[in-house]
Every structure is written in structure tokens, then in C-alpha cells.
Amino acid sequence: MKLLEYEAKEILKESGIPVPKGILIRAGDDARTGAAQIGELVVVKAQVDVGGRGKAGGIQMADSATVQEVADRLFGSRIKEVPVHAVLVEERIAIEHEYYLSISIDRSSGSPLILFTSSGGVEIEEVARTNPTAIRRAVVHSLLTDVPGYTLRYLLNGAPKELGPVINKLYQVFRSRDGLLAEINPLVTTPSGVYAADAKIIIDDNALPRQGISENRDLTDRERKAEEFGFSFVELDGSIGVIGNGAGLTMATVDLITVLGGRPANFLDVGGGADRVRVAHAVRLLGSMPGVSVIIVNLLGGITRCDEVAAGIIEAGVSQQVIVRLAGTNEEEGRTMLNKYGYRMLDTMEEAVAAAVEVAR
């Protein structure tokens, strides 16, 4: 789950990384009184999770006289389609230099990966494309609780030494907060010291409960509902409803529909060990989607039991044609049940997908 800038900055502050003095203002709050505690010259930053926020008008300069007006204007606007519910009013700092610092997970080594460059700021991805050697990369062994000194020296490559502790503190934030990403861009030097001028933290969804987060804000209502049933669901814009088990097989089913000239309406992975209740919910969910003219159920039983799946399909009883392909555990029981209720059951995935594409035409 992605944290907003002000939430990420609270975490950085707790860990000892300096952030500009700031105050969160929500719509309806008195921005002027709040801003008075910050200073005469301020920056007003929309708290929305969009890339390129500054260029899209989500970051505005203001002073004590204009801060209310600037904040109100942001509250009434959308930044790249996302409505603004809160703004962060921060002191304006005198930036001397902008650096980029991030920690993410390197899939190849299965370890934390630190990226650092002295060319930070809004053009960082351009730097990555045109001058990739300017970005220093270091993998840290997963069992180390601190970034070793030689790694810090390598990363800094002559940048001010005072940035070293910031790298180490961010590494500890990344570890203790179950981060998928901890990013400071820009990390700035000023006459009064180092500051994290912007920050982004993404927390591993599998670790939300132990991080004290009870609800994943990133999910849409429908996705949350799908998650409650135990499946992952992505809406596409075609006419063929797809239910599979396992992300790989479900993706391959969606891919094959496209290869054979059909248009998938969704991706729905019912997950391992899907029982009749979950399958029935899945079939009903697709049955309720207005654009869906046919549903393909493509399941291979590993943990999943085919008799349970068959019972779920029969129980859902949707109006659209349901084309079924089942193989695996308790396959014969499943087949017998479906045949009894007149469902079309085909032997291979390719036959079933071809049949569904044909019906959708």
C-alpha cells in the first residue's frame, strides 16, 4: 500500500531523517492559522498519489497572505483525475543541491537495492535513460541491519558525508516498515542542513496487519470485495468473462482469448483451494457485468477440488453461457455433476477458449 507524502515524512521524522517543518491541512480547515506556525514563505503540496504531481499543478508557492486561497483552489481541483482532500503546507527551504535516494527490492539477488545519485529531482528518470552511470547502485545483504561504511562511501561518490547517515536511516525504515520502496526525491542540502524534501513509501500488502494497517486503501471497492471472497480481480473491457485458478493459468487464458481473436472482460483468479462458495461468488460477479456475453471457467485442480468448483458453478446459475474446462483432483466427480446440469465441458484449454470466442461472436 502506498503512503502519502505526509505519512511517509512522519515516518522519516521518527527515524531521525530531517524533513521541512510542515502541517497537514484538510478541506475546511483554517489554512492561515496553520501556516502561521510554519513561516512567512510556504509551499502548498496536494496529498495525492500521482507521479509528476508538481508538473500537474499539485505543488504551489504561497505566503501567509495567499495560503488560504491557494489551498482552497487545490481542494477544488483534481490532480491527474485524483481529487485533493488534504494539502501539506511546508516551510520553503533554500535548496543548494538535489540528490536522489531510494531503496527497493532487487529480484535478481533477492536483496535490498540502494540507488543514489547527485543528479536528483524531477528529471531523475531522464538521468536514468541518458546517463545511467551517474546512478550508483548497491545491493545490501538481507541480514545486515546497517549499510556498511564502504557501501555508503561507494554510493556517495564524493557527495557530502552528512548524507551517509540519511542512507542508513532510510535503510532501517525500509526494513522495519516492510517497505517495497522507500524513496527520497529530492534529498536536498541547504544552508541549515539536509532535508527529505519529498518522500514515498510503499508497504508490502502481505505485511499490513503487523504494520498496524487494517485496510488497504489502494484497492477499489470492487477489488476489495473480490479480496474478501479470496480472489484477485482486474476488470478489462471485453465480452468474455474469465475465471481461472492461479495467476499464471488465468493470465495465459486471457492471453489466449486475445490470440484467438476474442476480447477478455476481466482477469479473475479464484486462488488455490477455491471452494464452492468462492466459485459461486466469482461466477455471479462476472454474470452481473453488463458487457459479459459468455463465461469461461478454466481450472486445473492442484489444491482446488473439481467437484467443489462444479457445485459452485451450478449454484451460481447465471444467464450467460458458461463453458467449463476442469482437470485435476476429483475431476470425474466434477464432470459428472456438470454434465447432469447441461453445462458445456471441454477437454482442453484451447478448445474451451475457442468455443467461448465463437459464442462471443
Binding site: D106, A128, I202, D255, V259
Partner: protein
Amino acid sequence: MIYADKSTGVIVQGATGNQGSFHIGRMNQYAESVGGCGVVAGVTPGKGGQESGGVPVYNSVREAVDAHDATASVMFVPGVAAGDSIMEAADAGLELVIAITEHIPVHDVMKACAYAQMRDCTVIGPNCPGLLCPGEISMGIMPSHLYTRGPVGVISRSGTLTYEVVHELSRAGIGQSSVVGIGGDPVIGQTFADVLDRFSEDPQTKAVVLLGELGGNLEEEGARMADLPVVVFIAGTTAPPEKRMGHAGAIVSGGEGDAKSKIQRLKSLGIPVASRLSEIPGLIKEMV
């Protein structure tokens, strides 16, 4: 076969849950049918002295290996406790841990895999269906009746996609040497490259099917180094782009990781890529 064979003694961690007890039974059915050693004991903290799936249960891996001849573990321990269980198995001297569990926090996986490596313990998974060497051993949750013995190795990031391909291969009369589910998580123990190394030392294996997905570039890393002929399939060509992870994702991958560009890079390396699953048996038949 690779990683394990008939003579491998197996313990199951997380033995007393529904999945644990159900799959102990199935793994031992398979062991009986091939005359193998199978699952000799289970481990669930606090449930020592009970039985599950017909085998005795112990409180710790250490107690289980003291009482039984076992060198490998299959793990069904739930998410937040699973990283700990991998380290426990490594500490007790097991050589191989196959982690079936999904939804393990990725930081736990990073630490557990790094720790296991220092203890010379091989980790397969997590979030995987396990290992099946037809005629030798089943360690995990794969539906064994689809499998036949033969010359083709299979390595996969996805459980059900594996079964699909094994099913197609068997129907085409092409048997498998070993089938390894390496798991779909961002951080995993054994990678495509690691498993390919094992296959290249296995006299039974003549060619390998790599079943990949969008995300990361472990497929290329593996296929590029392979000594054996390989066929690759990548799922997810029509999937919506992965959620962007700040700038780091774009900087690290430079646009790598989506299925289409991954397929293009594989093809540019001269590696055969199947555009649909049903093409795999035909492509592999030419190689064995």
C-alpha cells in the same frame, strides 16, 4: 531427477492444518506407488505427540530429525510464521526446504533465503506448488496423475500453468524428468538459472520448458546461460501494466519486466518462445 529422489526422507512443517494433513496423505500415496520413502514426520509447534496424515507430529524440526531420517521439508506454515520456519529447517540441518506458503512478507523471504544459503540449505519457493520427479518423488501439491516419466524438465513460476503444460506434454506422449515450481513472488529461493544448472547435470533431462510471467528478468537470466535446449512461454502479454513503484521501478528495470518486451528480448537471444501453450509439445519434440 533433481533435488530429491525415492530415498529422500521428508518432513512436513505446518503438518496439522487442513492443507498439511491432506497433502501428507497424497505425498505418501505417491511414495507408496513408486516404492519411495515419502513423508516420515510432521512438525507443528505445540502439537507434538499427535498424528497427522498418518505420520507422527513433533514440536520442532530438530526433534523430528532426531527421531527420523529426513533431509528435506515441505512447508505449509502460514504467511507471517513461514520465514521463521525456513530458518528453523536450515538450522536443523535440512538440505532442502520447499515453501508452498503464499503471502509471506517479502522482507521475511529475503532474510530467510539469505540465512538458509549461509547454512547450505536450498530453498524452493515460496508461493509454489513444489517439486515432482515422476516415478521418484512428489514434494508439494502437484496433481501427480497428470505426470509421466521422460526426458523433459519443467521450471515454472506458476502452479496451475505448470499442470496445464505437464498435461499437454503427457497427452503428446512426452514425459517429464523433474518439474519444479519456483514460485511467483518477487523474491524466491531457487531461480530459473539455479534449476537449469541442476538440469544440466541430470543425465535424464534432454530439454527444458521455462514457464515465466511478466515481472523481473529471471527468465532471461536463466535462458541466456542454459546448456540444454529450452522453450519459453511467458504469461501476461495482455495484462495491464504492473503498478509503478515510484521512480525506482523505472530506473531499475528501464521498462523491462512487461511480458511483451521480455518475449522480444528472449527472441533476440535466439531462444524459442511459444506464443500459446499448445505449441510447447511440438517445439520440445524437435529437441528430444
